[in-house]
Symmetry: C2
Subunit: 192 residues, 2 copies
DNA sequence: CGCGGGTTTGATGATGCTCAAGCCCGGTGG
DNA sequence: CCACCGGGCTTGAGCATCATCAAACCCGCG
């Protein structure tokens, strides 16, 4: 039984203790070193993972070979290539650890088994997908409507504890700007 | 019974004729004039709509009062504010018709009734959300990794029949550029 | 101690915006 | 039927934002 997972689940769906026990049995706790790839471009994503400890980035590679960060995920978030996972098609995505991490892994078979037994869990997974959707929607809007500096401020405000854990150049990539320009933004800020 | 809807559904989930008949009864066919708002900022979204005919835009308003187009949707697509609809929370979005349109409207109550009777339809709705997710993901990547001209080419390539139906300045907004700049891109293109 | 990855700084240049004006064209009223 | 209007598209000039490249710097780590 895992406390964090249970807490997360029960904020989405009310479940009995028996159901929680049943369900916990289908997750595999695994530990990974940083810089490990959980998924590489071309592979089919075979997991949804709940993060107990650590920090993960997901990204695409652009046509100059540079990373474009799609998401960061840390404690109490899910990480996966949702689309590749559900359609069992090759992914365009890389998922790589930024920190040593501890994950609860859910395979497609395990997920099917759980949902078969506890159909109301559909709700939790739907919420998970919706949260990702909302996040992409906000970021797309931000990237179009906001300046780089405003995007940075927003990022600091939304994720106050993350910036210390993430190298600058990755934050820059997430914001859609060059590492050099982020450095200048920070300099301007510190002068006030 | 509606042919287009049935066709769409059965490519997602195999259903019996009885199920299709049952299900069709829960959709309301409605006709709207262009420039009608299906949803405005602050309202709770009370529908998911399948488009039989016509063209719709969804957008946010930025802090200068300009539209930022999130999506276009036309025949055989769904339109809704997925998040507002499911959480029954006020939306940040506008949904407005670009053309006179014919829609099949599904209310939260009707959706619940259908899913209660035909649980396997969950799959179709999950696919709908996933397609939106994939689309936002691709656009976010494109907006970061690609130049305005590349984004425009990609748009023409992905939706070859849409550009004729959509005013330039809306396409510009969708691409995240000014109407003037799109005009220049088109001029450059035509010179080749 | 030296190495290497990350960050900073400067100089230069491209991309795309803003503002203002003109143009084209379909719709509307006289 | 024409004149006028208004919205969308184009064009030009000037400018802001942000990228690129190169060099220096910083600092933890082997």
């Amino acid at each position: 039984m895992n406390k964090e997972l249970n807490q997360y689940i029960t904020t989405c769906v009310p479940l009995t203790d028996e159901q929680l026990i049943f369900l916990n049995g289908y997750f595999q706790k695994k530990i990974f070193k940083k810089k490990t790839f959980l998924l590489q471009q071309g592979e089919v994503c075979k997991f949804e993972a709940f993060i107990l400890k650590g920090l993960v980035k997901t990204y695409f590679i652009d046509h100059n070979g540079f990373e474009v960060i799609l998401t960061f995920a840390c404690e109490n978030w899910w990480v996966s290539d949702i689309i590749s996972f559900h359609e069992q098609k090759p992914s365009k995505m890389y998922i790589e650890l930024i920190e040593d991490s501890e994950l609860l892994i859910l395979t497609p078979i395990a997920k099917a088994a759980i949902l078969n037994e506890i159909p109301s869990l559909e709700r939790m997974f739907r919420l998970m997908v919706q949260r990702h959707l909302a996040s992409y929607q906000d970021r797309l809007f931000g990237n179009i409507a906001l300046s780089a500096e405003e995007r940075y401020e927003l990022f600091l405000h939304k994720y106050p504890n993350l910036p210390q854990r993430i190298p600058q150049h990755l934050i820059a990539s997430y914001l859609g700007i060059s590492a050099e320009f982020l450095s200048r933004i920070r300099k301007r800020k510190s002068k006030k």
